[in-house]
Amino acid sequence: MTNLLTPIFAFIFQEAATSRGEQIIQGIKNPDLSKFLVIGALLFIIGVAGVLSRRNIIVIFMSIELILNAANLNFIAFSRYLQDIGSVNAVAGQVFTVFIIVVAAAEAAIGLGIVIALYRNKETIWVDEIDLLKW
């Protein structure tokens, strides 16, 4: 048990060290690429939690939109980073984001069509009541 905890304590103390603390304040004052990536990761996790825990199929679709947007945020952040380090074709991330938005729109249209057909046949939008394929 102690062996397991040692690296965690070491990590926490390292975080609390003064130079590290100054770095964190600097990071809050001047957010860089990593902050955007963290926000994208947190949005992705919120979306995953929504997909796994909600019963309403429409809210599950909305969580999927949130997941796709988190991916978009990462693409745009890296596109800006590549522009800053002077890469050729640095806007490729933005071009890919356009395609993600197209696919998300198509997915929403098809998915909501399925929801309407499902509601017409089964009169429910709770996913745990849609169990035709469960043996």
Partner: protein, 216 residues
């Protein structure tokens, strides 16, 4: 790539707004409230795109997501949620064990991803530090070269021009495939959402089947 001054303030405001709106999206009892919170999350993310210098994508995000997809969502919610009031007391989430597992998984993912991002970024920063030191100077030169807007107080960015050029130069085949995908999505959703009576109107239902439906 660092944001300074007001840009940093706006970054924190909009990113915290996006996270809170995202959390409320998956926790709201009423699906309409969920949709409205998702709209505010998407608008906040569009603001983050502007901070990152992707004005075109931010505009597309507002037009397509908020103007198109979310209106479609609201339509479907209102089509499907007939009598939501009387079912308002029903369970919102899955079984408690499932929700607990989800929460634990989400926390683990959060710690893992944040740690991995920070580790990876420090490595990346070390690798490209030489190029990153000249960013400010190069950005200033680029700002000078931009043409000014009609009022004379703003500069017109080259972002849309660059995205368009890259889209047609390097991604013209995916662009065409995306148009076919949209066509398939239109036809598919119309096919899925129509009733048996509407299908009968174009003669692709067996008359016997239709008679059986009517008699029910």
């Amino acid at each position: 790539m660092t944001l300074t001054g007001w840009e940093a303030v706006f970054f924190w405001v909009f990113s915290i707004a996006a996270l809170i709106a995202g959390l409320l999206t998956i926790m709201a009892r009423n699906a309409v409230h969920s949709a409205l919170f998702l709209i505010s999350a998407l608008v906040s993310i569009a603001a983050l795109f502007i901070l990152l210098g992707a004005e075109f994508i931010a505009g597309v995000q507002i037009l397509v997501y908020v103007g198109g997809v979310m209106v479609l969502f609201l339509f479907v919610i209102m089509l499907v949620n007939v009598g939501a009031e009387e079912r308002g007391r029903e369970r919102l989430f899955n079984r408690p064990a499932q929700v607990t597992t989800t929460t634990v998984l989400a926390l683990l993912l959060a710690f893992g991803l944040v740690y991995a991002v920070n580790q990876g970024y420090s490595g990346l920063k070390g690798k490209n530090s030489a190029a990153l030191t000249q960013v400010e100077a190069r950005r200033a030169i680029e700002q000078q070269e931009l043409s000014s807007a009609a009022t004379g107080t703003f500069k017109i960015t080259k972002d849309t021009e660059r995205v368009g050029g890259s889209l047609y130069r390097y991604a013209s085949l995916p662009f065409e495939i995306a148009s076919v995908l949209l066509l398939v999505a239109i036809i598919g959703s119309v096919m899925l959402a129509r009733t048996i009576k509407q299908e009968a109107a174009v003669d692709d239902v067996d008359p016997e089947e239709l008679k059986k439906q009517k008699s029910e």
